[in-house]
């Protein structure tokens, strides 16, 4: 299991467009990916669950990756939160 914290660099937060990209990204991997903020954890395969967390710009969340290809998945997700999210 890999867990890492990210600060959301997109000013608008995780709205529909980045959420779509993120869901599609994680579909490339076998590992289960979830988002955690405070006590609330959701699996990163449901648009509705991600949106309902209302993650805003500047907030910090944890991403948890678990599965056989977790190293690769974590790397791709790392790139998403540190780079790609800026442009979405």
């Amino acid at each position: 299991m890999i867990s890492k914290d990210y600060m959301i660099i997109a000013p608008q937060g995780i709205h529909a467009r980045p959420a779509t990209t993120l869901i599609r990204l994680t579909k490339n991997f076998k590992s289960a990916v979830s988002l955690k903020r405070g006590d609330k954890v959701v699996l990163l395969n449901s648009m509705l669950n991600i949106l309902s967390m209302t993650i805003k710009g500047g907030e910090t969340i944890s991403v948890i990756v678990e599965g056989e290809d977790e190293a690769n998945a974590a790397e791709a997700i790392d790139l998403f939160f540190t780079e790609q999210l800026k442009d979405l």
Binding site: H15, A16, A19, I23, L48, S52, T54
Partner: protein, 570 residues
Amino acid sequence: MKGIGVSPGISIGKAFVLKKPEAALTGVLLNNEIEILLEIERFDLAVSHAVAEIESIKANAQLSLQDEELAVLETQIELLTDPQIKADVTQKIENGKNNAHDALVEVIGNFVRLFESMDDQYMRARSADIKDIGRRILNLLDKSGKVTAPEFDPDTIVIAEDISPSDTIAMDIKHVVGFATQTGSRTSHTTIIAKSKGIPAVVGCGEELGTVVNNDIIILDGINGIVYINPAQEIIDDHTIKREAYLRQSAKLKALKDISAITSDGEKITLSANISGADDLDDAFYNGCVGVGLLRTELLFMDRDSFPTEDEQFEFYKNVALGSKNNTVIVRTIDIGGDKHLPYFNLPAELNPFLGYRAIRICLDRKDLFMTQLKAILRASVFGDLKIMFPMISNVQEIRSAKSIVAQAKAELLNNHIAFNADIKLGIMIEIPSAAITADILAKEVDFFSIGTNDLCQYTLAVDRMNEKISHLYDPFNPGVLRLIQKVIEQGHKHNIGVGMCGEMASDPLATLLLLGMGLTDFSMSAAAIPAIKNIIISNSIKKARDIYKNVMEMDSSEKIIAYLQEAAQ
């Protein structure tokens, strides 16, 4: 308010604003495990059809869609396939014994309420997206049984952003006296439906039409493309008089129905109808058609969950053959692809669907589908004078392949001792420029041609007829298009085969004399257009038509041609 008048006539009535209805619960409970399993399966199927719908929207509009709009569609796909919706719906079906409809209504309702209650304005607005995908799945779910079509009062004018094929499939239009839409063009679905039913319509009215509410008084002038919302009494009075005058005129035209379409110098012209099934025959004969120049078969394949069987298709063709009173019926084999999709036949999204996998191209690739249709038509051919026509032919090889499959179908029927008309006539649509140019070659292979001007025009001019931005370039009076049409007619005569026309141009009063002058003798059109065209034919001579044709061929632009034809029509 100005729009495009696409179906003539004047109507005065009350507005019915067509919105996707808010879904109500049915309260149906499932009885056993099997019903539960079937209901879950039905839900999954509806979701995958909904995704296919979005994919086809994406494909059709790919070139004109902004990135932003594409992103919205991608998000819709993710929402449609959201595992949380699936899990919640499944749970309600399994544990609550709800049917898929109720389960979905409740699940969507919960999410909508959750999002509506959020502090974040952006997230609150997302509740509309969730409602939208819910409605999309519900529409597909309800299709397979309990359709809840709106009920209209007499003299209803339907107001909508646009009217889709699925809307009109569900609509009972007997009380509808007019259509007005915000978007759309002369070749959009609303136009085709309105014209074929003879209901006045104005499309492309813009967003202002969105201010109309139910029961507003609407005057719709389908001749000039004008819509009045709650007009002053004098405008109503004025249009009541205009409406009477128009109705008297069309009644006069209807009186023409039993008169033969013979020019003043004795040339007999065949006016037949374009129909979509036996139900359209009454109206076609009422308007004075002699036969069917185009039986579209797509309707038989639409609004269902799987391909129709050979027996189901046989019944469909047999009913048309029996209803046609021994007149000729030209059956066009299925023309799907392009802008027409079947929910159960998943065609991959294409960048250029009109240049893609459609019509005869699908049939020659999926011989099983083609064979079923051909056998059904052949079996029905003993009940009337049926002919078979292949759409979208671009070269001689396609004709030969199609004919060899017809031969196989005949052989199978023969082996099984099933009766059919062994001499059934075979023809092709001329709607691709290469087919028009090589009409001399193709004429040797078939018994008749039918010119499809809509696609011929779109392909010759490289104008996508679904693209509103370039709709002014879609011009059947372009000298290039006219020369192609003339060449096809000439080659047909030279090789002694029949040449007809079943595209929009055949029903355009401005084109009638020009086409007669080119030597066209078979016109097929929507039933409502027949009287007006017949009136032109009986009041004019072939000699005059030939003169008009000669003059037109010397003109260099469609502006001149149209101005000249308008003058000649006076």
